[in-house]
């Protein structure tokens, strides 16, 4: 148990104010925002009392609508009303299997597709940012202040491009992303903390557009993801589509336009929802050519239509269990997440497979946002006791292309993050001075079957005989599940070094220009903003180091402490001026000066944790 800190009279502990932090579930169909209030995780409602925000964005010639108002326009203006944009995040036109079914005007672009709307060409990052902006406004209004940070959830099975796109959308919406969190893990947090459970749990998450299965071990507040699997293009939308196709076939209507497609898809969704607690449902609607559709769908037919979709979720489930080395008899409970798990055939299939009734006592639509809020609260530093720790994994293997278009895995799937691994390669030809490095993600042996993440060239290899150069390629995956790669040639002291961040086609410049065009600030506003941001960051740094000194100052001798404090004073002085560069360079200097201290604190805290000795008993 963590000890309470009591400060000396007259010497206050480091001032700590409650930081406003939220968890956001950016869903395919609906999005939510939640926060921790008086120790309880709660979903924040809009002014009309809605918890859910439909993930729908409607573009007008001037302006944009989000949520219910946008959803109301779906049938009237389908081409400019974007639903399920999450399916397009980090994806190109060729990645979308059923692209012909969508009523949108797609524009192919390198890396990520774009959509042509009445408000101009929009990419999925910009469209998602509109949803996030709306949730941010809701939260700030409801909490009465500016948000310090947010945790955004992503399907566990999202690859690097999809994660990067989500992070960029948050940045574009003006959110400070504390962490990208896997949806099933977030659900487990909400569920596990509520029930104080221990043991192995399976999270079965079937959302509007994605399916995820995660196996977690819960033990004393540590949530360890053992394996994850899924299908990033399978969800409730596919069930709607099955009903839609059945309706077309059954009613023999002539080919229909985008408005009618949208209308019928909406009817299909309503029918699916009706069948959750009714044996049959009547579907009636009038098409634009005055053709009338009036048919009845019963649950037996619905089950038959969607049988293959249900079984499609069981294959990843089997794989995840095998990867985790867990048998069905070891599973303590199966948690259902996502609105689509309300369908009775899903609940039956899961109960039959796991030989136990699934757990449904938390609202499957809200559980992810509630868990994300708890994690956001911890990351924002509002909760100091060490009772919650998430150990997550990467969903897909990361590797490099080698001779013959084959994949060499560097980090295998289900490795706990953060993780780093390096591999050595050599040159193929005599005198070769450059090497092309191609980073891929996926489980297949052929590079062409995997997702390409990045390509870069390492130049300046000193010419030598084939096989003599030693090129070390290092992969690092951070706690958000995002990858950076570096390559280095290391013979004869010669070194070349490059770092790439994989991207899905949007360069940093493109992001910056999107950011700039989204703010209509004048030049001086931008400068004022940059100054304010630097000051806030400097304050944060001073507060962090101040807190560390207060706690563990004994780890430094007098001269070390004086040196560090001198840098702190320098930064304080720089902060009072208006020179952004002076502030950032003072911050860098302070960061550099605090490295030794940071290292000692870390060593000491590990020793303390393992041996139970107090900090001042440990020699450093």
């Amino acid at each position: 148990m963590a000890l309470l800190q009591i400060s000396e009279p007259g010497k206050s502990a480091v001032p700590h104010q409650h930081r406003l932090a939220v968890g956001i579930d950016l869903g395919t169909t609906n999005s939510l925002v939640a926060t921790v209030r008086s120790g309880m995780s709660v979903v924040l409602h809009d002014e009309e009392g809605h918890a859910l925000l439909p993930s729908v964005v409607h573009y007008l010639p001037s302006g944009v609508e989000v949520g219910y108002t946008a959803q109301a326009q779906q049938s009237h203006d389908p081409q400019n009303t974007i639903v399920s944009v999450k399916r397009f995040m980090g994806r190109g036109v060729h990645d979308i299997a059923d692209i012909g079914h969508y009523p949108y005007r797609f524009v192919d672009a390198p890396g990520m597709l774009q959509l042509s709307t009445v408000a101009g060409i929009k990419n999925p990052v910009e469209i998602s940012a509109e949803i996030l902006k709306s949730l941010k406004a809701r939260a700030e209004k409801s909490l009465g202040g500016e948000l310090a940070g947010a945790v955004i959830t992503v399907p566990a099975y999202f690859d690097d491009a999809q994660r990067q796109a989500t992070k960029d959308a948050a940045k574009l919406a003006g959110l400070n992303v504390l962490r990208l969190l896997n949806e099933p893990t977030a659900a487990a947090v909400a569920y596990g903390l509520d029930n104080a459970s221990e043991g192995v749990f399976v999270i079965y998450d079937l959302g509007g557009g994605t399916f995820d299965i995660s196996i977690l071990r819960l033990s004393k507040g540590v949530f360890e993801v053992l394996a994850t699997n899924g299908d990033s293009a399978l969800g409730g939308d596919d069930f709607d589509r099955r009903i839609f196709c059945w309706m077309l076939e059954k009613s023999q209507v002539s080919p229909i336009g985008p408005e009618d497609t949208r209308l019928l898809l909406t009817k299909a969704r309503e029918a699916k929802e009706q069948l959750t607690d009714h044996a049959e449902t009547r579907i009636t609607c009038m098409l634009s050519n005055n053709e009338l559709i009036d048919i009845t769908l019963d649950s037996a037919t619905f089950n038959e239509l969607t049988q293959h979709l249900v079984s499609k979720t069981l294959a990843p489930t089997r794989k995840a269990l095998r990867d985790a080395g867990i048998g069905i008899e070891d599973v303590q409970g199966v948690v259902m997440v996502g609105g689509s798990t309300r369908m009775p055939q899903i609940q039956h299939a899961v109960a039959e497979y796991f030989k136990q009734e699934p757990l449904t006592n938390l609202d499957p639509d809200k559980v992810v946002a509630l868990g994300a809020a708890i994690q956001a609260n911890v990351l924002a530093g509002n909760k100091n006791d060490n009772e919650l720790l998430l150990l997550d994994v990467i969903p897909l293997s990361l590797g490099l292309e080698t001779m013959g278009g084959l994949t060499e895995k560097v980090i295998s799937r289900n490795s706990t993050i953060p993780v780093a691994r390096a591999q050595e390669f050599t040159t193929f030809k005599d005198g070769q001075t450059a090497m092309s490095i191609h980073v891929v993600q996926g489980e297949r042996e052929l590079v062409s079957d995997c997702r390409s993440l990045a390509r870069f060239e390492l130049r300046g290899i000193p010419p030598m005989a084939a096989g003599a150069a030693r090129i070390r390629v290092a992969f690092q995956v951070d706690a958000d599940g995002l990858l950076s790669v570096s390559a280095r040639e290391q013979t004869s002291g010669a070194e070349a070094h490059i770092v790439v961040k994989p991207s899905y086609g949007l360069s940093d410049d493109a992001i910056t220009s999107m950011l700039q065009s989204s703010f209509s600030h004048a030049e001086e506003d931008k400068q004022a903003r940059a100054l304010r941001e630097a000051q806030v960051e400097a304050e944060r740094l001073l507060e962090a180091i101040g807190a560390a000194l207060h706690q563990d100052g004994a780890l430094l001798d007098d001269s070390e402490r004086n040196a560090l404090e001198a840098k702190m004073t320098e930064l304080r002085t720089a902060m009072t001026g208006s020179d952004v560069r002076a502030i950032t360079s003072s911050m860098e200097a302070l960061n550099h000066a605090s490295e030794t201290f940071a290292g000692r604190r870390m060593d000491a805290s590990i020793k303390q944790a393992l041996t139970g000795h107090k900090l001042d008993e440990i020699k450093v």
């Binding site: 990351l379 150990l391 706990t416 690092q476 706690a479 740094l541 180091i545 940071a598 290292g599």
Partner: protein, 176 residues
Amino acid sequence: MLDIHQNHFELFDLPTSFAIDRTLLDQSYRKVQSEVHPDRFAAASSAERLRSMQWATHANEAYQTLKSPVSRARYLLQLQGIDTQEETNTAMPADFLMQQMEWREAIDEARSALDISALEKLLLEMNREAASQESELHVAIDEQRDYPRAAGIVRKLRFLDKVRDEIQQAILALED
């Protein structure tokens, strides 16, 4: 960069031996991660955040190395300055090679008969064989300190791992 003098066993406050208390390893790993994980430093200075990521990465690496018997043995031998020569030394005892061939034939047969349950039975047999080789490792390393022999067992286990992979791939292919 990270400056770590401890070996992986010392990091988790465990004796440096092949026999390992798995519960204790799991507990120590979680304790270390509770201290160093980036989630603990989300509001810290960037020097601390970097340090935290390096330590958490290192703790994950150390845990994975100790968790699996083969990599734990390989690591212990490395600490003794012994190279397990898994890529270069492919000489195997004749009886082991015979056994290998029989297994591979059985896999091929089950694969062409599309027989998943036969493959799963083979997988269980492999697991039993691996477990018995692992207890041999304990004797060779902890009791006899016969490191060259231990290196030979690591090479055998590496072989078994490859066969197990093959079976798992075959099961996956049949399931899809």
